[in-house]
């Protein structure tokens, strides 16, 4: 890939395995509301292990691939820095602390989840959590709304109705709608 002038990297070092692990532990524990923003801050702005252009490219790949985006990012990033061992360090750093935290929270919920006051609090939080996801979806839908480009919104709406309202099993909906979506995009691709 030819380097464009603006992507000429700042001085970069190859991070140690320990540094990779600790960076993703930090991302995992600080990452309120979307860990990927924190991942970008760490990789590009603070540690300068990646240029902004490089990050965007890896990010696009991680969104495209199935699976949790931030876990994909950890694996691809770790692999680019230090190969398969690097990928294990980054993925481990991302997953292990949150896994432990979730087990603790799960145990607390199993033990105290039926307490009435906690029920009311969780009931409130879940209404906001639903709104957060709906607002995020609306934000994501924004780039789809372009003049005379009806196909994007139509496909998004079809998926929403099929999976969210009609509650068709995910694999059935995707088996029909993904080929359709790709076929439409194929006809429009350069």
């Amino acid at each position: 890939m030819p380097e464009t002038p603006e992507s000429i990297p700042p001085p970069r070092k190859v991070p140690s395995l320990w540094n990779l692990f600790i960076s993703f532990v930090t991302i995992s524990l600080l990452g309120f509301g979307g860990t990927l923003a924190w991942a970008r801050r760490m990789a590009v702005d603070e540690r300068r292990w990646m240029s902004a252009a490089e990050f965007n490219e890896v990010f696009a790949l991680c969104q495209f691939l199935p699976g949790p985006n931030v876990a994909n990012f950890a694996v691809v990033f770790g692999a680019r820095m230090r190969g398969v061992v690097g990928a294990i360090c980054t993925a481990g750093g991302l997953i292990v602390p949150s896994l432990i935290l979730m087990i603790v929270l799960g145990a607390l919920y199993a033990r105290y989840g039926e307490i009435e006051a906690l029920q009311r609090i969780l009931g409130g939080v879940s209404t906001a959590a639903a709104g957060l996801i709906l607002g995020t979806a609306a934000r994501m839908a924004q780039p789809l709304l372009q003049p005379r480009q009806w196909h994007g919104p139509v496909i998004a709406l079809a998926v929403l109705v099929a999976v969210g309202v009609l509650r068709i099993p995910l694999w059935w909906a995707l088996a029909i709608l993904i080929p359709l979506a790709i076929a439409v995009a194929w006809r429009r691709a350069p």
Binding site: T35, L99, A128, P153, I155
Partner: protein
């Protein structure tokens, strides 16, 4: 809680499949997690699902950790570990192998078409997650109103969602929802 090998295998199979179906990230699979956990396998009630979703969203860390909580609810710590590995394992292995060859197809038509085609699909899936969690969580007019207000604030501002969770939690605690 069930701790037999069959249950753990069922958890691994469910989340392992979801890992590869998660077009658009972890939250895209929330509808299928709900369908399976509540309606098919009867691992939990609708309300418990909404609670667990709220905990996973409000806690720090990646959103896909709702799988950990579901696994824990079904089969304790082994269930939590199996669910988490199932959710990340298959997609991580795929990501590792694809990232090595991806640059080679940078300008290939199939890559551009696939990438563009999947964007509206993932938008639809995230929207579906919101609809399903709202239906599980909202039972009063005020609850629907809070969901709507949160959605509008999320759409128009960059306010840290923690504050929205705190506000909604307080309203809930006060018995208003």
């Amino acid at each position: 809680m069930r701790l037999d090998a069959g249950t753990l295998l069922a958890i691994a199979a469910h989340f392992g499949l979801l890992s590869l179906l998660a077009v658009g990230g972890g939250n895209a699979t929330v509808p299928e997690m709900h369908r399976h956990a509540v309606e098919v396998a009867h691992w939990m009630t609708d309300r418990q699902f909404a609670d667990i979703f709220a905990i996973a969203q409000a806690a720090p860390g990646p959103n896909f950790l709702i799988s950990t909580l579901i696994g824990y609810q079904v089969a304790g710590i082994p269930g939590a570990v199996v669910a988490t590995l199932g959710m990340c394992g298959p997609s991580s292995v795929l990501a590792y192998y694809v990232s090595g060859t991806w640059d080679r197809f940078k300008y290939a038509r199939w890559r551009i078409a696939t990438q563009n085609g999947l964007i509206p699909v993932s938008v639809g899936l995230i929207g579906a997650s919101g609809v399903i969690v709202a239906q599980a969580a909202d039972h009063t007019v005020l609850a629907y109103a809070i969901t709507a207000v949160t959605a509008v604030i999320t759409y128009f501002t960059r306010l840290n969602p923690v504050w929205l969770f705190v506000a909604a939690g307080l309203l809930g605690f006060a018995g208003l929802i």
